[in-house]
Protein backbone atom coordinates (compact mmCIF):
# COMPACT_ATOMS: atom_id res chain seq x y z
CA UNK A 1 0.00 0.00 0.00
CA UNK A 2 1.34 3.44 -0.94
CA UNK A 3 1.99 5.77 1.96
CA UNK A 4 -0.58 8.56 2.32
CA UNK A 5 0.71 11.98 1.20
CA UNK A 6 -0.49 15.56 1.07
CA UNK A 7 -2.71 15.95 -1.98
CA UNK A 8 -4.01 12.40 -1.83
CA UNK A 9 -7.63 11.58 -1.29
CA UNK A 10 -8.18 11.20 2.43
CA UNK A 11 -8.94 7.68 3.61
CA UNK A 12 -12.57 7.29 4.57
CA UNK A 13 -11.98 5.72 7.92
CA UNK A 14 -14.85 4.29 9.94
CA UNK A 15 -14.55 4.81 13.67
CA UNK A 16 -16.81 4.42 16.69
CA UNK A 17 -18.83 7.04 18.51
CA UNK A 18 -19.85 7.00 22.17
CA UNK A 19 -22.67 4.54 21.45
CA UNK A 20 -20.28 2.27 19.52
CA UNK A 21 -21.97 3.22 16.26
CA UNK A 22 -19.76 3.37 13.17
CA UNK A 23 -19.00 6.87 11.94
CA UNK A 24 -17.42 7.48 8.55
CA UNK A 25 -15.02 10.41 8.60
CA UNK A 26 -16.22 11.45 5.16
CA UNK A 27 -19.47 12.59 6.78
CA UNK A 28 -17.45 15.29 8.54
CA UNK A 29 -15.40 16.62 5.64
CA UNK A 30 -18.38 16.60 3.33
CA UNK A 31 -19.73 19.34 5.56
CA UNK A 32 -16.57 21.30 6.31
CA UNK A 33 -12.78 21.02 6.34
CA UNK A 34 -11.73 18.56 8.99
CA UNK A 35 -8.81 18.54 11.42
CA UNK A 36 -8.13 15.05 12.71
CA UNK A 37 -5.98 14.55 15.76
CA UNK A 38 -4.72 11.04 16.33
CA UNK A 39 -3.99 10.78 20.02
CA UNK A 40 -1.23 8.57 21.34
CA UNK A 41 -3.81 7.17 23.69
CA UNK A 42 -6.76 8.37 25.75
CA UNK A 43 -4.68 9.02 28.82
Amino acid sequence: MNELRVGDAAPDLVLLDAAERPVALATFWQQAPLVLIFLRHFG
Partner: protein, 130 residues
Protein backbone atom coordinates in the same frame (compact mmCIF):
# COMPACT_ATOMS: atom_id res chain seq x y z
CA UNK B 1 -6.53 22.11 20.96
CA UNK B 2 -9.60 22.65 23.12
CA UNK B 3 -8.31 26.08 24.10
CA UNK B 4 -8.06 27.19 20.49
CA UNK B 5 -11.11 25.41 19.13
CA UNK B 6 -12.82 28.69 18.32
CA UNK B 7 -10.01 29.57 15.90
CA UNK B 8 -10.64 26.37 13.95
CA UNK B 9 -14.38 26.85 13.98
CA UNK B 10 -13.89 30.48 12.94
CA UNK B 11 -12.22 29.15 9.79
CA UNK B 12 -15.18 26.88 9.14
CA UNK B 13 -13.40 23.69 10.17
CA UNK B 14 -14.37 20.90 12.49
CA UNK B 15 -11.98 19.14 14.83
CA UNK B 16 -12.21 15.44 15.65
CA UNK B 17 -9.90 13.45 17.89
CA UNK B 18 -9.28 9.74 17.48
CA UNK B 19 -7.86 7.40 20.06
CA UNK B 20 -7.04 3.78 20.58
CA UNK B 21 -10.06 2.22 22.20
CA UNK B 22 -13.79 1.79 22.00
CA UNK B 23 -16.31 4.52 21.40
CA UNK B 24 -17.26 4.43 25.09
CA UNK B 25 -13.61 4.88 26.07
CA UNK B 26 -13.40 7.80 23.67
CA UNK B 27 -16.42 9.42 25.27
CA UNK B 28 -14.99 8.88 28.75
CA UNK B 29 -11.72 10.48 27.68
CA UNK B 30 -13.61 13.46 26.26
CA UNK B 31 -15.38 13.93 29.60
CA UNK B 32 -12.19 13.43 31.58
CA UNK B 33 -10.29 16.00 29.55
CA UNK B 34 -13.30 18.32 29.08
CA UNK B 35 -13.14 18.03 25.30
CA UNK B 36 -16.19 19.41 23.52
CA UNK B 37 -15.36 18.32 19.97
CA UNK B 38 -16.05 14.73 18.85
CA UNK B 39 -13.70 12.02 20.10
CA UNK B 40 -13.95 8.69 18.31
CA UNK B 41 -12.56 5.27 19.04
CA UNK B 42 -10.32 3.17 16.82
CA UNK B 43 -10.07 -0.08 18.78
CA UNK B 44 -8.42 -1.98 15.95
CA UNK B 45 -5.92 0.81 15.21
CA UNK B 46 -6.97 0.73 11.55
CA UNK B 47 -6.78 4.51 11.26
CA UNK B 48 -3.32 4.60 12.78
CA UNK B 49 -2.07 1.97 10.32
CA UNK B 50 -3.77 3.63 7.36
CA UNK B 51 -2.03 6.91 8.10
CA UNK B 52 1.28 5.16 8.64
CA UNK B 53 1.57 6.31 12.25
CA UNK B 54 4.43 4.48 13.81
CA UNK B 55 5.37 3.06 17.14
CA UNK B 56 8.29 4.02 19.28
CA UNK B 57 10.63 1.68 21.05
CA UNK B 58 11.17 1.50 24.78
CA UNK B 59 13.94 4.10 24.62
CA UNK B 60 11.59 6.39 22.76
CA UNK B 61 8.95 5.80 25.36
CA UNK B 62 11.08 6.27 28.46
CA UNK B 63 14.30 8.26 28.04
CA UNK B 64 14.19 10.01 24.66
CA UNK B 65 11.29 12.30 25.53
CA UNK B 66 13.28 13.79 28.39
CA UNK B 67 16.03 14.83 25.97
CA UNK B 68 13.58 16.07 23.38
CA UNK B 69 11.04 17.86 25.54
CA UNK B 70 11.48 17.38 29.30
CA UNK B 71 8.30 19.21 30.24
CA UNK B 72 6.20 17.37 27.70
CA UNK B 73 7.69 14.04 28.70
CA UNK B 74 6.89 14.63 32.35
CA UNK B 75 3.34 15.59 31.44
CA UNK B 76 2.94 12.44 29.39
CA UNK B 77 4.03 10.27 32.28
CA UNK B 78 2.01 12.13 34.83
CA UNK B 79 -1.14 12.23 32.76
CA UNK B 80 -1.37 9.24 30.66
CA UNK B 81 1.18 6.61 29.89
CA UNK B 82 0.71 4.66 33.09
CA UNK B 83 -3.08 4.61 32.78
CA UNK B 84 -3.00 3.81 29.08
CA UNK B 85 -0.62 0.93 29.62
CA UNK B 86 -3.31 -0.82 31.69
CA UNK B 87 -5.79 -0.80 28.78
CA UNK B 88 -5.35 -3.89 26.56
CA UNK B 89 -6.67 -1.96 23.55
CA UNK B 90 -4.16 0.83 24.02
CA UNK B 91 -0.66 0.49 22.61
CA UNK B 92 1.32 2.91 24.75
CA UNK B 93 4.16 2.81 22.19
CA UNK B 94 1.87 4.06 19.43
CA UNK B 95 2.73 7.51 18.10
CA UNK B 96 0.12 10.06 17.15
CA UNK B 97 -0.35 12.44 14.29
CA UNK B 98 -2.62 14.90 12.62
CA UNK B 99 -4.43 15.21 9.33
CA UNK B 100 -6.20 18.18 7.75
CA UNK B 101 -8.74 17.30 5.06
CA UNK B 102 -10.41 19.89 2.87
CA UNK B 103 -14.11 19.85 2.00
CA UNK B 104 -13.24 18.01 -1.21
CA UNK B 105 -11.73 15.14 0.73
CA UNK B 106 -8.10 15.95 -0.12
CA UNK B 107 -5.29 15.80 2.40
CA UNK B 108 -3.96 19.34 3.00
CA UNK B 109 -1.66 18.57 5.92
CA UNK B 110 -0.23 15.41 7.37
CA UNK B 111 1.92 15.04 10.45
CA UNK B 112 3.30 11.74 11.68
CA UNK B 113 4.82 12.15 15.11
CA UNK B 114 8.42 11.01 15.35
CA UNK B 115 8.55 10.90 19.13
CA UNK B 116 6.07 10.82 21.96
CA UNK B 117 6.41 14.58 22.44
CA UNK B 118 6.32 15.51 18.75
CA UNK B 119 3.00 17.20 18.10
CA UNK B 120 2.15 19.55 15.26
CA UNK B 121 1.93 23.21 16.11
CA UNK B 122 -1.63 24.46 16.29
CA UNK B 123 -0.62 27.36 14.05
CA UNK B 124 0.50 24.88 11.39
CA UNK B 125 -2.88 23.17 11.50
CA UNK B 126 -4.63 26.52 11.20
CA UNK B 127 -2.42 27.52 8.29
CA UNK B 128 -3.41 24.33 6.46
CA UNK B 129 -7.00 25.57 6.50
CA UNK B 130 -6.11 28.71 4.55
Amino acid sequence: MQGRLAEFEGRGARVVAIGQGTGAEAAAAARRHRITFPVLGDPGHDGYRTLGLGRTGWFGLTLEPFFDDPRGAFQNLKRADLRASANPRSDVRRLGGALVVDAGGRVRFLHRSRTTTDVPATDALLAALS
